[in-house]
């Protein structure tokens, strides 16, 4: 594949000129509107609920409550956990009626749904629902949830602990620690954040009584997994669930799952015989869209006298919120467990995990899904060890990198790393960031009264293999002979229309304009994985190439027939079949047109491949300056050198890295969901209190490719969707630690808000 340099993407004009079709843009004749009464308390028994007064309000058609959800049997959400825990235990799954029944367990939980002729009428009627609660004590932190005698959220989850899991070899780790010359310890918390995609969550459901099927319009990350999840939750067979998925305005893992509102709309649409539409407000989004991260990690690293890593041990406490989301537990366990060794040769590893329920919004996968969390712990530990042992942080890393001759490298916990060049990425990043010149820049900053710091991380990720064992892609020709590629992935900003079409066009040797991409299309009998876990290019993208290759082979006999030659006498090049040693030829698209109108078109092909995890890795470096008078940090520079494997489109890689790094910066410097510990109220329920990162936060990001093609897929791609988040959390934190180290500031954790940084500086100066 030759690399594409394109300043614009094919989808851009449509999306930035308001011609995208997002879920809220869809309307169906006769549709009703739903509005949800949400719990205004964090933990309470529902003593009584009377919806009748709301029914008397103008325009109201029906009101649904927990009793309706229980009667429908919509109480058990799917869960992707496929492995057992400590002692062979399985995860305890609390019931989650799609409208709360008996109890509410977080602020924002759906309690009742009003369906009315207009969204305004539905909203007006919410106030008329009479509800009596009996408040219960709350636990919004892991500590409070695990405390003896603390509040009990679910009867079937004693102590709010729904799963314990361990990975690695505890005995080997204990032995290694016993003989270690030095042990570095660190406790960190990757904060709870609200992903906030630009498009508000929305859903439109209609029910067709004749076919007993539902038509569902919603924002998604891919049709196959979503359909399965809806089916598991509602018991409706998959073939009775028809999805209409179009443009999606950001997903970040938050759009991968079925949500309670959607299933409640199914109840209403079936009962009322009219379509039911719901569009979330931003305020609702903060308290009902799944949150991300929220892992407390205690890490320990054992080293020998020469600074070689002997063993690492971690305790992970994962805050899952009040219920389990489909992706939450698995992403918080599998990815950290797989990546506990980072990019280092560590002979013994052990991790122990607790999955904890709290009176908060349920947590799901969020860009990186456990990968940024473990990288944050590992890379901060390594920096701290370097500081404690007075070894240069780049030297300590080099000393412990998995060497080039050790690949494929089988980690002590599940992973088999493909060929990587950690030292090469480090060298390139040090060069690009002018690491050697930093001392001068620090001095110059000091003269301006600023504290300057530089930080780096060397990280690796396991891209998502996906829950489906293979990815399929179809290439089909329509009645005019035009070519369309079908995938089950679904772009929510990743630019598939540009990249995937280019892969097919290049493989076929036809202009990109000849290729149309359609994703997650209802009625296409394809299987495969949704967009997430940095996997779409690696999976769907590489199968696009295979499908194009398959098309050429598949078309060859028909081309030969057309040219009155044997297939062995023709070759394919530059979009056409040509006679070897002669001048007969026919273009592929011409051949397709000749057969247009046949159903199915004889050139149609479906290709598939089983694409497992790939291993993107890289080195990121950040420089920061802190104003000690105010604690304000300015990011001075950022260098990202990534081995994403073969790069198909550098502009799109840059976009992915920019987005990921800024999301990391947002979390490190301000973003955080905060609940009041006593009342369980959400204190960061709007953009007035929740610090989303702003465009001016990072003025420039230098993105350098250091590609080592993957041998695990046809494109040689490794994936790039999450590297920005995975690397930037620890990179920024290490830069902050470096800036504050001369003052003797002890450990400081995210978010590095001005107030927190100023206090740390003041306390250090007071000593």
């Amino acid at each position: 594949m030759s690399e594409i340099h394109a300043a614009t993407r094919r989808e851009d004009l449509r999306l930035i000129t308001g011609r995208g079709r997002y879920t809220a843009d869809w309307c169906l004749p006769g549709q009703l509107h739903a509005c949800f009464l949400r719990s205004d308390r964090a933990h309470a028994e529902i003593v009584s609920i009377d919806a009748r007064p709301a029914l008397k309000r103008p325009g109201v058609v029906a009101v649904f409550t927990g009793a309706d959800a229980v009667a429908a049997g919509y109480t058990q959400f799917p869960n992707m956990m496929a492995f057992t825990g400590r002692g062979g235990t399985t995860i305890l799954k609390p019931d989650r009626p799609v409208l709360a029944a008996g109890k509410v367990r977080y602020v924002g939980e759906t309690v009742a749904m009003v369906v009315a002729e207009s969204a305004l009428a539905a909203q007006d009627a919410l106030d008329a629902i009479e509800i009596e609660y009996n408040d219960l004590p709350v636990a919004v932190t892991i500590e409070d949830a695990l405390a003896a005698g603390g509040p009990q959220l679910h009867a079937n989850v004693p102590g709010n602990l729904c799963f314990e899991y361990e990975a690695g070899n505890a005995a080997a780790v204990d032995q290694a620690f016993a003989k270690a010359a030095h042990v570095t310890r660190l406790k960190v918390l990757t904060t709870r954040v609200a992903p906030n995609p630009m498009e508000p969550r929305a859903c439109l459901v209609s029910y067709d009584a004749a076919s007993e099927a539902y038509d569902i319009y919603t924002c998604s990350q891919g049709i196959v997994m979503l359909r399965r999840q809806f089916s598991v939750l509602t018991g409706v067979p998959e073939e009775k669930l028809r999805f209409h998925l179009h443009d999606v305005g950001g997903s970040f893992g938050q759009r991968s799952a079925v949500y309670p509102e959607y299933a409640a709309q199914m109840i209403a649409a079936k009962k009322l015989g009219r379509p039911v539409k719901w569009v979330s407000s931003r305020s609702e989004g903060f308290m009902s869209d799944s949150h991300g991260r929220g892992i407390a990690i205690a890490g320990e690293l054992a080293l020998d006298r020469d600074g070689r890593f002997l063993a690492a041990r971690y305790q992970f406490d994962c805050d899952m919120g009040a219920y389990l989301t489909p992706t939450g537990p698995v992403s918080h366990l599998r990815n950290p467990a797989t990546l506990m060794t980072g990019v280092y040769r560590i002979p013994a590893l052990y991790g122990s995990f607790r999955v904890v329920l709290t009176n908060t919004v349920p947590v799901a996968a969020y860009r990186g899904a456990g990968r940024p969390d473990i990288a944050y712990a590992v890379e901060r530990l390594v920096d701290r060890a370097a500081s404690e042992l007075n070894i240069d942080r780049t030297e300590l890393r080099r000393r412990n990198f998995i060497p080039p001759d050790a690949f494929p490298y089988k980690t002590p916990t599940m992973g088999v790393y493909e060929q990587s060049d950690f030292a090469g990425c480090l060298d390139k990043a040090l060069e690009d960031a002018d690491w050697a010149g930093f001392a001068k820049r620090r001095d110059a900053a000091g003269k301006r009264g600023k504290l300057r710091g530089i930080g780096l991380s060397t990280i690796i990720e396991a891209t998502g293999a996906g829950m489906y064992p293979k990815d399929q892609v179809a290439i089909e020709f329509d009645a005019q002979g035009k070519l369309t590629v079908y995938t089950v992935s679904l772009s929510s900003g990743q630019g598939h229309e540009t990249t995937f079409a280019a892969i097919v066009a290049q493989t076929l040797g036809v202009p990109a304009e000849e290729v149309t991409l359609r994703e997650s299309v209802q009625g296409k009998d394809l299987t495969g994985n949704h967009t997430g876990g940095s996997r779409s290019l690696v999976g769907a993208g590489s199968v696009c190439k295979l499908a194009a290759q398959k098309l050429i082979e598949h078309a060859k006999p028909l081309a030969a027939e057309e040219l009155e030659l044997e297939p062995s006498q023709i070759d394919y090049a530059d979009g056409a079949f040509r006679e070897r040693g002669g001048d007969k030829m026919i273009a592929l698209m011409k051949l397709a047109q000749k057969h247009a109108g046949k159903s199915p078109h004889p050139l149609n092909v479906t290709a598939e491949a089983s694409v497992g995890s790939t291993w993107p890795n890289g080195c990121h470096i950040a420089e920061v300056e802190i104003d000690p008078a105010t604690g304000v940090t300015q990011i001075m520079s950022y260098v990202a050198v990534d081995d994403s494997g073969n790069v198909i489109n550098h502009s799109i890689v840059e976009g992915q890295v920019h987005g990921g790094v800024v999301q990391g910066a947002g979390q490190i410097f301000g973003e955080q969901v905060i609940y009041d510990r006593d009342s369980g109220q959400l204190l960061t329920g709007s953009f007035s209190d929740y610090s989303m990162p702003r465009a001016g936060m990072l003025r420039d990001i230098h993105v350098g490719d250091h590609p080592l093609p993957s041998k695990l897929n046809a494109l040689g791609a490794k994936g790039v969707g999450e590297s920005g988040c995975t690397a930037s959390l620890s990179t920024f934190a290490n830069a902050m630690t470096d800036a504050l180290r001369p003052l003797g500031v002890p450990h400081l954790d995210m978010p590095f808000t001005p107030s927190k940084v100023w206090h740390a500086i003041r306390n250090a100066k007071a000593k």
Binding site: L120, D124, A629, D689, Y690, M692, P754, S755, W758, H759
Partner: protein
């Protein structure tokens, strides 16, 4: 949002009449506070009386040596007015640092002053510059106008028409924007006037206030070093999830010192 009646006032007296006739009516100028409040269903007015386009409330001019700005002038208009930039550049600077471009193209001077949000920008300038608030009924001195968090001297049905600013020798505004909302987490407006140096603080405490300690110190010597020895009592400050009282107390001093430096750097 609850249902309401929207009325576009034809004149100031028409607006006053509508407000008097409907006790649950509210004035709408830019709506930058009111509309979010309505969207959150925290208010249920019977009528919104739109005064945003009234000619009586518009205009910027020098009048008898004072800068007169109509209450319905939007922040962007103030920020880019040649008259304001010539007379009180610090006021134009302040207006240019309110909210974001959308807010600056909707929000108005009168709306901001009438709301007296303790984290709003304009009240600091109005107090430091000892402006006069001209209403449909009277003229009110800034010192009498602001009466603590969201409270003002405005009577029922009284509408701000314009503000009159005496032109200072020099002035400067230094703002620490709240990381999420962009409001002033702490901001200081310093004016060097014929009557002495005046220092007004917004965002840090329960309402805009003058920092007399700083004014006294600066009266002796107009330099940032003059404030070195001062401390701000954290117990007078606001605290929230973003910043402690101690941090805001520190910001008051740091912003004041930076405002002094900025003031001294202007001609």
């Amino acid at each position: 949002m609850f249902e309401f009646n929207y009325v576009k006032a034809k004149s100031l007296s028409d607006a006053a009449g509508l407000i008097a006739a409907h006790p649950e009516a509210k004035l709408l100028a830019g709506g930058m506070t009111l509309i979010p409040t309505l969207k959150q269903r925290l208010a249920q007015p019977s009528h919104l009386v739109d005064v945003g386009g009234l000619p009586e409330l518009r205009g910027i001019e020098m009048k008898n040596g004072r800068l007169a700005i109509g209450a319905a002038m939007q922040h962007h208009e103030v920020a880019t007015s040649a008259v304001v930039m010539k007379a009180i550049p610090a006021l134009a600077y302040l207006a240019d640092h309110i909210g974001d471009p959308q807010v600056r193209n909707r929000g108005t001077l009168g709306g901001s002053v009438a709301n007296n949000d303790p984290v709003a920008d304009y009240p600091a300038a109005v107090l430091a510059l000892d402006a006069t608030i001209v209403t449909t009924k009277r003229e009110i001195a800034a010192a009498d106008f602001f009466q603590g968090m969201f409270a003002t001297a405005l009577a029922e049905g009284e509408i701000i028409v314009r503000l009159l600013f005496a032109v200072p020798k020099r002035a400067a505004y230094e703002k620490f924007p709240h990381p999420a909302s962009g409001y002033a987490m702490t901001a200081v407006f310093i004016a060097e006037t014929a009557a002495g140096v005046r220092v007004a603080v917004t965002g840090a405490g329960p309402g805009v206030y003058r920092w007399s300690g700083a004014e006294n110190a600066l009266a002796k010597k107009l330099s940032s070093a003059a404030l070195d020895g001062l401390t701000v009592d954290p117990k007078d400050m606001n605290a929230d999830i973003h910043a402690t009282r101690e941090y805001r107390a520190n910001l008051v001093k740091v912003m004041a010192q930076r405002a002094v430096e900025k003031l001294l750097a202007t001609k």
